[in-house]
């Protein structure tokens, strides 16, 4: 296991990819493009899965890709290939140019403003390759699954445990002179087990993910948590139809913030496909809510030095004191809205909602009687209207304590109201994703059950 700076072998590969990108940009000029953006990536990895104590699959991953966008005046075309040979590169450039020649002129099309491109490249500490042998990977997966299976007599079956490790190099450049690349890694361990009691089967899982394998939770801990999550679902009952307060556990609360981000994404705004049109400078959350993006956190899963177009990323607030302070914009969507890119081509990078003071137990106390949601199902979210209706499972809570598991019901409301009536954010922050949030309590949703 190593850490930054990037080892010589990877540096040499990065240099090779950089010259490939530079060659490709030159090729776009040769074929008549007036502007171009090129990205190349190489990735390798290993996935090892164990089930019922035995190895089930070992998958060796190794993939490459080149993607490019060309502009001919105000016309745009894109193409990609998994073949990085010079002949394939020329064909790919030709395909993109052919599309651009047929596309319509679009006054907003084009490369980012040169002044917005990243010029400093902070070391974000993203590369910790893990040269683990398949046998050792299987051992970790088996240990994790054993911990889950041995945790409780009601754990009756398993979907297996997987160890995944990936490392990759990514280089991007454009015809304005931007050319940069970096290495990153990502490792994870997950397990999913099944419990059975009184002829009811339930499944749940747990996983850990990190840039650096030393930051992963232990196999025993991952297994134990997965088993606990499965066991606590046994004996699930249905719920009758009602309206009540709802707490989204931290690992499902991130989806609520995801819908919010979807609604302030430039592409949805200029297409008028958002329930938050024209809300900049207006309250969309209660005044205690602070939401910001921190793209440069060391070792974090969402960290990037620049966005998908090479535009520098900067820490900034999206919501301050409940007021919407910034949209999420790429170069194109910004131009469509008459604004400036926020460095969000490709999405947000480490989205954080400031935690409150209560842990999940404290939130349950605060709620008194209501629903704790731990699983969501389906895609019943309409970003145009904000209408929200999803399948869910979780726990019924009375007097601040969990009474019994519940399932086979939906929760519904309108996202505009849901954001505005957010009651509290917990301090039980889930750090495993690109969105960092504690559990979130909402004033009231409609539960549809039997």
């Amino acid at each position: 296991m190593s850490s930054n700076p990037i080892p010589a072998a990877e540096q040499a590969q990065l240099d090779q990819l950089k010259s490939l990108v530079a060659d490709c940009i030159q090729e776009t000029r040769n074929q008549g493009a007036t502007g171009a953006e090129v990205g190349v990536s190489m990735e390798s990895g290993l996935s090892a899965t164990a089930r019922l104590g035995e190895v089930e699959t070992i998958e060796h991953h190794r993939s490459r890709g080149l993607g490019l966008t060309v502009y001919i005046g105000q016309r745009k075309g894109s193409a990609s290939t998994s073949d990085l040979s010079p002949a394939a590169m020329r064909e790919t450039v030709a395909a993109a140019c052919r599309i651009a020649r047929h596309a319509a002129e679009d006054p907003c099309a084009g490369l980012p403003d040169a002044g917005l491109l990243a010029t400093e490249f902070p070391d974000l500490d993203l590369y910790y390759p893990w040269a683990i042998e398949p046998e050792a990977a299987i051992e970790l997966a088996v240990a994790c699954e054993n911990a889950a299976r041995n945790h409780h007599a009601d754990i009756s079956n398993s979907e297996g445990a997987s160890l995944n490790t990936f490392e990759g190099l990514r280089v991007m450049g454009n015809s304005l002179g931007f050319l940069h690349g970096y290495a990153s890694s990502r490792h994870s361990l997950s397990v999913s087990v099944i419990g059975e009691r009184d002829q009811q089967m339930q499944r749940d899982d747990w996983w850990t993910v990190a840039r650096d394998a030393r930051d992963l939770q232990s196999p025993e801990e991952v297994g134990r948590i997965a088993a606990e999550r499965t066991i606590r679902r046994l004996g699930a009952r249905s719920l009758s139809t009602r309206q009540c307060p709802v707490i989204f556990a931290s690992d499902v609360a991130a989806s609520l913030l995801g819908h919010f981000i979807g609604a302030i994404r430039g592409g949805n705004l200029y297409r008028k496909s958002s329930f938050l049109l024209d809300q900049l400078g207006k309250p969309v959350f209660p005044d205690f809510v602070q939401i910001h993006e921190q793209p440069h956190l060391k070792k974090a899963l969402g960290s990037v030095p620049y966005d998908a177009e090479g535009v520098r990323t900067v820490p900034h607030h999206l919501v301050r004191n409940g007021i919407l302070e910034s949209y999420v914009l790429s170069t194109y969507s910004a131009r469509k809205l008459g604004m400036t890119s926020t460095g969000n081509a490709g999405g947000v990078h480490n989205l954080i909602i400031d935690p409150g003071t209560l842990d999940q137990a404290g939130l349950l106390q605060k709620m008194g009687t209501g629903l704790l949601v731990t699983e969501l199902m389906g895609q019943g979210v309409n970003l145009v209207t904000g209408d929200y209706s999803r399948g869910a499972a979780g726990f019924w809570v009375e007097n601040g304590t969990i009474q019994y598991p519940v399932e086979e019901f939906t929760i519904a409301g309108n996202l505009r109201d849901m954001l505005k009536t957010l009651v509290a954010v917990g301090n039980d922050v889930d750090l495993r994703g690109n969105t960092r949030t504690g559990s979130i309590m909402l004033e009231q949703l409609t539960i549809a059950g039997n």
Binding site: S82, E91, H102, A236, S273
Partner: protein, 483 residues
């Protein structure tokens, strides 16, 4: 150029790399041997393009080429897998070496039987990307934009997308036999946003199949997509809050068959049942639906989006009866799970690409027609919901709970459709939802060719279908709590 799929596969996949079938044989010989039961080599080359219109102009398009080889070696229940995006002897040999490291030591393994011959093709070995000049692709998108706007002045935004792919595959099983397939696939979609007095709603419709772009120019097909997208959006402008709670639900014919895909389809995939993780495990021969219900998975329908002449393991696809008159008949299998369960593969071994392992997947899953007139079904409902169109769905295989989200729905009051209501998610329990089917329409329809199914991170095109169905008691996830 020949039109035999295997010859096209050799020309596309082997000849550019200077390879011949004999080279694959050598890789296979390296792959087999002590402790390996089965193995396969899968070669694939896919060219894909898409064109998109918004703001009245075709402002972008993409083109991609993806090719490579996936090599699998299986010992008992253990699978070793490696892939390469290089189709060369050395890359294949290296991948074979990685894959076969799964082998058990000093074990002989049981061999599969040789493959049957190739069935007739269900689609032509055509290249959709070349089936229409670029100018005409663009003209089609622009025409649909204008048609949408001409239907109603409340149409504010129109998005049209056209995509096509040309996929060539070749798979060599351990018996050394190679199977080839050339798989065209096209898709056209129209989405609109309508606005009236500050209220905005969307509507979307599309279709496609294993054919070329000429399909969309036949008759009135593309214009029908445009009209349908606008119609759905306008209906939703008048939609009221949806009801919340359990009620009688009538599901429309066609795409609402996603009910079957989620509620029972996934639960009947062989891998979950071999492992005993499905709510349907061990239930073959039991009653899982009302006697009105017969459900099949049929990969043999010519030209359909979910159809395949051979699956990704070279097995001819089939029409597999899943439920017959309410009784669970069988599961969908790939080779691995069929062998381990001691049954025959059903041609359901599918994979997203050479970078993924095959597993049991659905093709076109639908319920056969029943005796009832759809009108009669609506008229039989005193109070309930008629759900005509849907978005996506999801299922928890183990608990059996599934959801699917309506995008166009109406209240039924005293046997008549009255008011439109907003989209809502419906939730139920897979193993018993079909036992509550009390009427089945005589109007079986398949969807228009839009489905994509996700499982373990792998996406494959699928089809669904059903006649109009009446379900006595399904939970509707609206916001309006009834008094």
């Amino acid at each position: 150029m020949t039109s035999e799929p295997i010859a096209i596969a050799q020309q596309t996949l082997l000849e550019p790399a200077g390879l011949a079938t004999g080279d694959l044989d050598r890789v296979m010989q390296n792959l087999l041997g002590g402790g390996i039961d089965t193995a396969d080599i899968y070669l694939q080359a896919t060219r894909y393009e898409s064109w998109g219109l918004e703001d009245g102009i075709v402002k972008e398009g993409t083109h991609s080429i993806d090719q490579g080889a996936g090599i699998r070696a299986v010992a008992g229940e253990k699978t070793g897998f490696a892939y390469s995006d290089d189709i060369t002897t050395s890359a294949l040999m290296e991948a074979a070496k990685s894959a076969r490291s799964i082998a058990r030591r000093g074990d002989e393994g049981t061999r599969e039987l040789a493959q049957t011959s190739r069935p007739p093709s269900l689609y032509l070995p055509i290249d959709p990307l070349r089936s229409l000049p670029e100018e005409e692709k663009i003209a089609l998108l622009k025409r649909l934009d204008q048609e949408c706007r001409a239907i109603d002045p409340r149409v504010e935004q129109v998005f049209v997308s056209l995509s096509g792919s040309h996929e060539v595959i070749m798979v060599m099983g351990q018996d050394g036999a190679t199977h080839g397939d050339v798989r065209p696939l096209v898709r056209l979609n129209v989405s609109v946003i309508v606005e009236d007095g500050g209220r905005r709603e969307q509507g979307s419709y599309g279709g496609g199949g294993r054919t070329d772009y000429q399909y969309f120019l036949e008759g009135d097909r593309a214009s029908e997509y445009a009209r349908e997208a606008v119609r759905q959006a306008l209906v939703n402008l008048d939609a009221e809050e949806a009801p919340a709670g359990s009620m009688t639900v009538v599901l429309g014919s066609g795409w609402p068959g996603i009910l079957l895909h989620e509620a029972i389809g996934h639960g009947l995939e062989g891998d979950f049942n071999r492992k005993g993780t499905s709510a349907f495990s061990g239930r073959v021969g039991e009653k899982v639906a009302s006697p009105l219900c017969t459900v099949v998975d049929d990969g043999t329908l010519p030209g359909r989006r979910g159809s395949l002449t051979i699956d990704d393991e070279g097995t001819p696809t089939a029409c597999t009866t899943l439920i017959e008159n309410g009784i669970l008949k069988g599961y969908m299998q790939d080779k691995l799970n069929a062998r381990l369960m001691g049954v025959a593969p059903t041609g359901n071994g599918r994979r997203e690409s050479y970078q993924h392992l095959p597993m049991p997947r659905m093709t076109n899953t639908y319920m056969l027609a029943g005796p009832h007139d759809p009108e009669e079904i609506i008229q039989s409902v005193k109070k309930g919901l008629y759900a005509k169109n849907f978005g996506g769905g999801q299922v928890d295989i183990t608990s059996g709970k599934f959801v699917f989200s309506a995008s166009e729905a109406y209240l039924i009051e005293d046997g008549k459709l009255t008011r439109p209501v907003k989209g809502a998610t419906l939730i139920g329990n897979g193993p018993d939802v079909l036992t509550r089917v009390s009427m089945v329409g005589n109007d079986l329809q398949l969807d228009s060719g839009v489905g994509t199914c996700g499982k373990d991170g792998q996406s494959v095109p699928v089809g669904v279908g059903q006649p109009t169905l009446k379900v006595d008691g399904l939970t509707v996830g609206g916001t309006r709590v009834q008094g």
